[in-house]
């Protein structure tokens, strides 16, 4: 039974209640969005604290006349939101700003509380624009972009442009051809090849060469066995059979590195 003192407050009209509900909904939406953004910001800091990093990098010469620079990018996502479409884009230019490589890794999605290792294989060509990588130490322009969506609301892109030193496996390659001489009744010519292996991998295999005159058949040819660890030099001379009457002056020495199941042509060395 209703109290004689208490009077039930009148019910607001429908249009008033609708307007009030919309105002309250607007305020609630604002507060929820602000709290969400604050939580996303806090979570993003947690990702940075989890220290995303590149793993160890290995370089190997591949049969398709490329160097495979292999590594992996480890990213932990210790937050409440997933990372979607995480991808890396690489563009590498040589010292003359000629593009050597345009490659992508990913995309992958990393669930909330998960982790991912994104494998990265960069096949740097050793032919055409990449030929100088065989014989010249140089600085390469590395441009790396990372893209991802986070918490469904934000797109994040990180770009890095750096110069990285490249150590050539046949740095400062020099080939010299001496004067022909008669040895044990056979005409021979001393051929000297020297270089420094500044690459991060050992040079194993053989180096085949041909002494090519300006015209006519090859004057001489031969092969050096190679087992040059990273960071060491190579300087050897060998006598090679020489074609009678051949004059290599003004010609060139062509050489080819033959490894385990692959071969790479080295830049020709002119003969003065």
């Amino acid at each position: 039974m209703a109290s004689p003192i208490y009077r039930k407050p009148p019910t607001p009209p429908g249009i008033y209640r609708a307007a009030r509900a919309l105002r309250r909904l607007s305020a609630i939406a604002f507060v929820v969005l602000i709290l969400f953004v604050a939580l996303v910001g806090y979570s993003a800091v947690q990702i940075i604290h989890s220290q995303p990093h590149l793993g160890t990098t290995t370089s190997t010469v591949e049969p398709n006349q490329t160097v495979d620079v292999a590594t992996q990018f480890s990213l932990t996502n210790p937050t409440y939101f997933s990372i979607q479409h995480f991808a890396l884009h690489f563009l590498i230019l040589n010292a003359s700003n000629v593009p050597l490589l345009d490659a992508r890794a990913g995309p992958v999605s990393i669930a909330a509380g998960g982790a991912s290792n994104l494998p990265i294989n960069l096949y740097v060509p050793l032919t055409a624009a990449g030929e100088s990588l065989l014989t010249e130490d140089q600085y390469l322009d590395w441009n790396v972009w990372g893209n991802a969506s986070y918490a469904y609301l934000f797109t994040v892109s990180i770009g890095e442009a750096t110069e990285r030193a490249w150590g050539a496996p046949f740095d400062d390659l020099q080939v010299s051809v001496g004067a022909p001489a008669l040895v044990n009744g056979q005409l021979e010519v001393p051929v000297t090849i020297s270089f420094s292996n500044d690459a991060t991998f050992a040079v194993d295999g053989s180096l085949n060469y041909q002494v090519v005159p300006p015209s006519g058949p090859d004057c001489s040819q031969g092969s050096f066995g190679l087992n040059v660890p990273s960071g060491t030099g190579f300087d050897e001379t060998q006598d090679a059979a020489y074609a009678t009457g051949c004059n290599p002056a003004g010609g060139q020495v062509d050489s080819e590195y033959v490894g385990n199941g692959f071969s790479v042509s080295l830049p020709s060395e002119p003969i003065p």
Binding site: P13, L22, L153, S157
Partner: protein, 163 residues
């Protein structure tokens, strides 16, 4: 604009603060509004500009929009008992929508870290689109109040200003 006469709801069912009290209340609301809409954003943008970071929005735009929205919010409070409340609520929401739309036009934040060659780009257009829901709802509420004031003047007084 003046408060309508006693021809509305029965006396005693509402208690409208005087214009002086409403102006005082509006002035008190002015303080947090100026801090949130002008002070903090301008301080952050000024700091970023001093660090050589390009701004997604000119500081003058933030100041102007902040002043306009603040003035409209205060006016809406002061004139709440009048028929101007609905139009002022609509104007406030519309100004906020325009402001958010300006932010949406370049909802990308670019941070370049000097000497490291690192650029970080953050896109937040989806967030701004979601934020647009807030003034959109307020706009609809203002429209309903406008209709209510036009069809049944002073009907909302007992509920907006209970005794």
């Amino acid at each position: 604009m003046s408060v309508p006469g006693p021809s509305g709801p029965p006396p005693g069912t509402y208690q409208i603060p005087s214009l002086g009290w409403r102006i005082l209340g509006g002035a008190l609301r002015l303080i947090p509004l100026v801090i949130v809409l002008i002070g903090v954003p301008v301080a952050i943008l000024s700091y970023l500009a001093s660090q050589g970071v390009s701004l997604p929005l000119p500081i003058a735009t933030v100041e102007f929009a902040g002043i306009v929205i603040t003035a409209l919010v205060v006016a809406r409070y002061v004139w709440k008992p009048t028929a101007a409340y609905g139009p002022l609520a609509i104007a406030t929401a519309a100004a906020t929508i325009v402001y958010l739309y300006l932010i949406l036009l370049d909802a990308t934040y670019r941070l370049t870290i000097p000497n490291y060659g690192v650029t970080i780009t953050l896109g937040y257009s989806t967030l701004i689109l979601l934020l647009l829901i807030v003034p959109a709802l307020a706009l609809a509420a203002g429209a309903l109040t406008l209709i209510e004031d036009a069809t049944a003047p002073r009907e909302r007084w007992p509920f907006d200003f209970p005794p």
